[in-house]
């Protein structure tokens, strides 16, 4: 049995169902991200694990024990908030010691653990400072240390990096991941930033208005989205409605232009409406020897995005984005030119309409 088990959890506020039949098994030491747009119920789900909300129905088991109705202060769960939530009247060291003194640990043990935690987050010089004397990134590290000091069974992080600027966000997320791995702690990380989720998670739960859309490793979620929503939400994506032409050979047609997909279409019939999704980086200019999925495209627009150049093309009546890595010797076509464009059969994802 898994370490943390959330089974058939539903949460209603009044008549609104905010989380609907949520099921997730998390292994010990795993780092799982909840990814989804604003208002989809990520925080609510996390708060049910923390004990700040009680599920309307369903069960939450932690290490075999039913914690569904347990008070938050009986759970041994660490929580990190977007706003840091450090106690303003306490120094860094006192903040970190708070959970331990609440547990009536011995003075020596507290001093030792606090030192250990301060070393872990590299804030040795700031132990006697008050929260207002620290930068946002430093405050969030203190709040991490404070949560970890009590050796929680699960660490819950609710958009811990959202209030920080881009550089700190990237370095702190790496730090969080490194500490989590080092301590082998089980963690749930809430974010609406797909890059963040992809870069630090063992698994991602893609959520959409109260329901789980897809659960998988970052690799799976990015490369093999199972629903239109998760395909769109994770990474950028071209998608178009299409029609199945020949289920057996994987032929579909987007607006009259024929594509071949590696996806198994044998469950569908010829003439079925489907949704086709192709990642921009999977499209490229066709070289001579390519045969499958070579189509004519009109170049509409070219945008530099730094390391990537995004080319907007029109295939048949449908517009697609095509991403190619930037380099100084790149031979870009003229706007208005017609070029041959291709993608592999595997790149053509077929999802339910």
């Amino acid at each position: 049995m898994s370490y943390l088990s959330i089974s058939h959890v539903t949460k209603q506020f009044g008549n609104t169902v905010v989380v609907d039949d949520f099921n997730l098994e998390i292994e010990k030491g795993e780092f799982v991200s909840f990814l989804g747009p604003s208002g989809c119920g990520k925080t609510t789900t996390l708060r049910m694990v923390a004990g700040f909300e009680i599920p309307t129905s369903g069960k939450i088991l932690l290490d075999g024990a039913d914690i569904t109705d347990k008070a938050p202060n009986q759970r041994n769960v660490g929580m990190i908030f977007q706003s840091y939530a450090l106690f303003p009247n306490m120094t860094v060291a006192q903040n970190i010691a708070f959970g331990l003194s609440v547990r009536k640990e011995s003075r020596e043990m507290i001093t030792q653990r606090v030192d250990e935690m301060i070393n872990l987050i590299n804030l040795e010089k700031h132990a006697t400072k008050y929260p207002y004397q620290l930068s946002g990134g430093q405050q969030q590290r203190v709040s991490l240390a404070r949560a970890l000091a009590i050796h929680p069974q699960v660490l819950l992080l609710d958009e811990p990096l959202s209030a920080l600027d881009a550089k700190i966000r990237v370095s702190l997320r790496a730090e969080i991941r490194a500490i989590q791995k080092k301590l082998g702690i089980t963690a749930i990380f809430v974010t609406h930033d797909q890059e963040e989720a992809l870069s630090i998670s063992d698994r991602i739960v893609v959520m959409n208005v109260g329901v789980m859309e897809q659960v998988g490793t970052p690799f799976e979620v990015y490369n093999f989205p199972t629903t239109v929503f998760s395909a769109n939400f994770v990474g950028s994506l071209n998608n178009a409605s299409a029609e199945v032409v020949n289920p057996a050979s994987g032929f579909i047609s987007i607006d009259g232009v024929q594509f071949e997909s590696a996806v198994d279409l044998t469950q569908r019939k010829s003439g079925d409406k489907v949704r086709v999704a192709i990642r921009p980086e999977r499209l490229s200019f066709a070289s001579e020897q390519k045969k499958a999925n070579v189509v004519d495209a009109t170049i509409e627009n070219i945008t530099f995005l730094g390391s990537v150049v995004r080319i907007r093309v029109k295939i048949g009546g449908t517009k697609f984005n095509m991403d190619t890595f930037n380099n100084p010797f790149l031979d870009l076509p003229k706007i208005g030119a017609v070029e041959q464009i291709t993608c592999s059969r595997e790149a053509v994802l077929v999802l339910d309409e």
Binding site: A50, F52, Q74, M79, S83, A85, F87, R146
Partner: protein, 279 residues
């Protein structure tokens, strides 16, 4: 004609000086408005002895066997009022902020009632209600005193609630509470280790305002036949010439001392709260 940059710079200066002068004038006028009566009272209080300025009136005041008992009775009443008021207002305001934010306007309105109802109306209402069974509290001096303190508690609500509410708004009560809970703290620990320390300044200012009201209150104490400072002072005014002025100066000094304490403690401990707040 467009003014040159130089002429603008020159033009700004005198107007700024004029503005400063204006502010000083207003400040001086207002100060005089306060200081002249105060100075006159002080001067009057020093004339207790014929033809010499001195502290005779103060000496007589403190020598009066009724003064110190009335004074200490008022202080005890004030401390009791503050204590009860804090115990009622802080948990209420905390809970409203945390769990019932929709009720805030209602609670705010209720706490404002003492402002709306004149003291004289309040006291007659209270005497009518509590002077017959089943709620007979005006029968003895001590039970009347308990009743008086209860009324003072109600009178303190507007000040106490406002101070505490401001203090609570300056910190993120909900998140701090949840952070403490997830670290294993129970309600008592949260209130005493997290909420109270972060409200220190707010609690103090509420307490000292309450103190000032209770020390100076006349109407209700008078009609409830209580021997506190207010009725004592009123009586003094009727029978003596210089002592009432001395009394007024003493009361004034106490109030100012109270304000000074708020300011001093406020400066020391609110710094990190304010800075955390502005971030």
């Amino acid at each position: 004609m467009m003014p040159s940059p130089v002429s603008t710079a020159v033009a700004v200066k005198p107007s700024a000086t004029r503005k400063r002068l204006g502010s000083w004038l207003i400040f001086s006028a207002v100060s005089l408005y306060f200081l002249i009566p105060l100075g006159a009272t002080f001067y009057w209080s020093l004339r207790g002895q014929k033809d010499v300025l001195g502290f005779e009136a103060y000496r007589k005041l403190f020598a009066d066997t009724n003064f110190l008992p009335a004074f200490s009775e008022s202080i005890v009443n004030a401390v009791a009022t503050i204590f009860i008021s804090l115990l009622i207002v802080v948990p209420t305001a905390y809970w409203v902020t945390l769990r019932l934010p929709k009720l805030r306007p209602v609670v705010e309105f209720i706490t404002l009632l003492p402002f709306v109802i004149p003291g004289i109306v309040l006291v007659f209402g209270i005497i009518r209600l509590y002077s017959r069974p089943p709620l007979l509290l005006t029968a003895t001096y001590d039970s009347s005193r308990i009743l008086l303190i209860c009324v003072y508690v109600a009178l303190s609500f507007p000040y106490m609630f406002r101070s505490v509410d401001n203090g609570l708004r300056a910190i993120d009560v909900r998140t701090l509470t949840e952070a403490a809970q997830s670290l294993g703290a129970n309600w008592t620990t949260i209130l005493f280790k997290v909420i109270f320390p972060n409200l220190r300044v707010a609690l103090l200012s509420g307490a000292l305002l309450t103190f000032a009201i209770v020390i100076g209150e006349l109407t209700i104490a008078l009609y409830m036949a209580q021997h506190t400072l207010g009725p004592y002072m009123a009586n003094l005014t009727r029978s003596k010439v210089y002592e009432p002025s001395a009394m007024a100066i003493v009361a004034f000094a106490i109030t100012w001392a109270a304000m000074g304490i708020i300011d001093f403690v406020g400066r020391g401990s609110s710094k990190h709260l304010q800075m955390a707040d502005t971030e």
